[in-house]
């Protein structure tokens, strides 16, 4: 029902999210400064290795996000009580995952231009990543199809589980496809980076920082989804009442 008094709590933030948020800002600031200034240039790759501190963590977190989506979808489908909370986590995680995957592809192609001289190579890892991105863009499109909230949850959970089935198939076919025709040794961007302590630590902080970003975004996004579902619901209560009054007055 529409509230009589305006709700006092007008955000999705809590003590916990604020702590995560502050931590995120601290860690990310450190990653940016250390990645750009403190860490040394690579012997082979030169300065361009600095892109690694944002590229590699965002790729990892994108994959993490898609795994979270799959797990949450499985919980939604297989748990006795089909709890919509799992669906919201799955959706929020996929959205964040798509964002990180776009970051990964953009930073990766910038890095590729510097090291290989080309923005794009038909390397198995790149190709799989591109297919994966399109798959999850499709997943998000399925979430926007019209229908009830339960319908959305069920459809998207099925699609998420099918997408997980598809990841190994796409990956192996692409790896197999390339390996038959050319050796992919020079294409491996991480193979020839010699890491010293600070570089490793910065990369590690990058992973931590991006994970914090992920957690913070998921918490807020998932609550925002709940709010907008509830907002529809509260409109519904008013609508039921209005419709009943309508029938009485007739």
């Amino acid at each position: 029902m529409l509230s009589q008094s305006a709700p006092k709590f007008s955000s999705t933030g809590t003590q916990a999210t604020r702590i995560v948020g502050v931590l995120t800002i601290v860690v990310m600031t450190w990653v940016v400064i250390s990645g750009l200034v403190f860490t040394p240039a690579d012997v082979v790759q030169g300065e361009s290795v600095r892109i690694m501190y944002v590229h590699v963590p965002s790729a990892w977190i994108a994959y993490l996000a898609f795994i979270v989506t799959a797990i949450a979808s499985a919980f939604y489908i297989f748990a006795k009580r089909h709890s919509l909370g799992f669906d919201r986590v799955a959706g929020a995680s996929a959205e964040v995952g798509v964002m990180f995957m776009v970051i990964t592809l953009v930073t990766g192609s910038l890095w590729g231009r510097l090291t290989w001289g080309e923005f794009w190579q038909w390397d198995p890892r790149l190709t799989t990543t591109a297919f994966l991105l399109v798959t999850y863009i499709g997943y998000l499109a399925v979430r926007r199809l019209d229908g009830s909230i339960e319908q959305r949850a069920r459809r998207s959970a099925v699609i998420a589980l099918l997408a997980v089935l598809e990841i190994p198939l796409v990956h192996f076919s692409v790896v197999f496809w390339r390996s038959l025709h050319q050796r992919a040794t020079i294409l491996d961007p991480n193979g020839d980076v010699k890491m010293d302590g600070l570089m490793l630590f910065t990369l590690f902080s990058g992973v931590v920082g991006f994970t914090l970003v992920f957690v913070w975004l998921i918490l807020h996004r998932q609550r925002t989804m709940l709010l907008s579902d509830l907002a529809n619901q509260s409109g519904l209560d008013a609508a039921i009442l209005a419709r009943q009054n309508e029938s009485v007055s007739n």
Binding site: L132, V142, L145, G147, Q151, R154, R155, I159, E166, S173
Partner: protein
């Protein structure tokens, strides 16, 4: 009051749906009169665009499967348009029919139509692109076509069912299907190239790809029969 209709066997439902789909196709001839010319046109247009016999021989396999996948989108949408135009799909849902059997019936009908399409496309490749094939190559080619079309039939029906009756299905279907069928495109292309001996590929290379196609078909056959009901229901 309590006399309930006895549940019909899955194979019976599947075969009824299969016969129904093929009979409608035999009568309306949409695949033969529209999709087939469309796919043939793709092959001819590529011949114009590439205009080089050596290149055409090399890429013949890829073109066949690209044309197949484009035709798949049309056939899938047509197949579900038949079921949704007079709400027959709703009637099936109301009647409590085993939807996984509907899935199987529709997939197999779809695969058969794709096989017929591929036979014509491969014949076109022989005529237009001057590809050669040995007897062993032909065995490989036939196996590849069967495995690939089975897999395409399963995924096509699965995602076609999901998008049937929704807004924007014409664009959503390719968006969902393209990344999923990527392995089929790659594997079937490589196997066909091996069968044709394009670019010096050996026939033995092709069988590994056919194996991948078989795995793909199995995964989506099982996944599809489980998922199809929940997807189109509600």
């Amino acid at each position: 009051m309590k006399k309930t209709v006895k549940k019909t066997g899955r194979s019976r439902v599947a075969s009824a749906v299969f016969i129904k789909d093929l009979r409608i196709e035999a009568r309306s001839r949409v695949v033969t009169n529209q999709v087939l010319p469309f796919a043939g046109l793709i092959m001819v247009m590529f011949a114009f665009a590439l205009d080089n016999d050596d290149v055409l021989q090399r890429v013949a396999g890829g073109l066949i499967w690209l044309a197949t996948i484009f035709s798949l989108f049309i056939i899938v949408q047509r197949s579900f348009a038949i079921d949704t135009s007079d709400s027959a799909l709703d009637s099936l849902r109301v009647a409590g029919i085993d939807l996984s059997a509907v899935f199987l019936g529709k997939s197999i009908a779809l695969s058969l139509q794709l096989i017929a399409l591929d036979v014509v496309l491969i014949a076109a490749a022989f005529l237009l692109y001057q590809v050669q094939v040995s007897v062993i190559g032909l065995v490989l080619l036939v196996t590849c076509v069967i495995c690939a079309t089975t897999g395409l039939g399963f995924v096509g029906t699965l995602y076609g069912g999901l998008t049937a009756g929704t807004n924007g299905r014409e664009t959503l279907l390719p968006l969902l299907l393209l990344p999923v069928v990527a392995p089929v495109l790659i594997a079937a292309t490589r196997a066909t190239e091996a069968a044709f001996g394009s670019g010096g590929a050996a026939i033995s290379e092709g069988w590994a790809w056919v194996g991948l196609l078989a795995i793909f078909a199995a995964v989506f056959g099982v996944g599809g029969s489980l998922a199809f009901g929940p997807l189109i229901d509600e």
